[in-house]
Subunit: 158 residues, 2 copies
DNA sequence: AGACATGGACAACCATGTTGTCTATCGTCG
DNA sequence: CGACGATAGACAACATGGTTGTCCATGTCT
């Protein structure tokens, strides 16, 4: 086989970008503009209990200041709301709004549709083998929330 | 299969990161610290004829100013040299140094070793199928030099 | 010769991260 | 109860790697 290791890496990156760019384009077409993977990561972490800046920073492995900036963006877009924490006067509790949940739901559905399309292109059995081998190679625990920061860049436009 | 489309995307990203982080770590172990994918992209483009800032910017789909900054980094590290262009007084011609070529050669070898390791983990036939299917899904033309900018971020440390 | 295009340098700005500092509040311990 | 250390969040300064805009020197074309 003449393919080099570097080409393999680029194929994997290309696959990721293809899915993410497709999802972002489709989200945009459905009225949600400028959504980036980090927004989804952050909203899910907030919904899962990281409902203040410091905790969100820890979950996403970024500084609390960076998390606060992300929250500010989500707030501007109407994806989250801020309120006082009844139990702790220092904290400001973050909650995901209905709009935020909608974006997460739509994004999930779009990714599933893209996966379906891939499945059709390859055939069910071949695709299942492909996915199983990919999982075997990468391992399910490899991509952790730390990647949220990384995937934040340059995914807005094709 | 219960895997979601988003998980598929994360697996692809995880695979890419796994290879790239491995390559960067191994390059570091061999004495080349802080190499990032964009350095390799840029050096290859320079070697392939994009030997001035404006042309490099065009090849990498970034502004000539951004290309000039990248060249400045490569120059600081001793990977490229700058000289006047005998045919055009405006241009400053960039050439890859012996050190730059060494980094490219080592990087290539390391990626090939990582691919070999994957091949062993899966078995030759299964890996060939996997790679062929990945290529079929992604398409060989998907990842173009435009991605150089994107892969520039946050790959220094695991 | 003169008009226009191009290469490169410089400055200002943007986005997203970092560290450091400060204040308010919490929790614990004497 | 009160004091002290730890934590939450705001604010400022900075790093990195992009962008645009402007400028001058040089090349190219008519």
């Amino acid at each position: 086989m003449s393919r080099s290791g570097a080409e393999l890496a680029l194929l994997l990156l290309g696959g990721y970008r293809s899915l993410v760019d497709g999802a972002i384009a489709e989200l945009s077409a459905r009225g949600h503009h400028g959504v980036r993977p980090v927004h989804d990561f952050a909203m899910r972490a907030i919904a899962a209990g990281a409902d203040n800046a410091s905790e969100l920073g820890r979950r996403l492995s970024v500084s609390k200041q960076a998390a606060a900036k992300t929250i500010a963006v989500l707030f501007e877009r109407g994806y989250v709301e801020r309120g006082p924490d009844p139990d702790d006067g220092r904290r400001k509790r973050i909650t995901v709004t209905a709009l935020g949940w909608e974006v997460m739901r739509e994004g999930e559905a779009i990714f599933d549709e893209l996966r379906q399309a891939w499945q059709h292109r390859l055939g069910a059995r071949e695709f299942a083998e492909f996915e199983a081998r990919l999982a075997a190679l990468v391992g399910d625990a490899t991509v952790r929330p730390e990647s949220a920061g990384w995937v934040a860049h340059e995914l807005d436009e094709g």
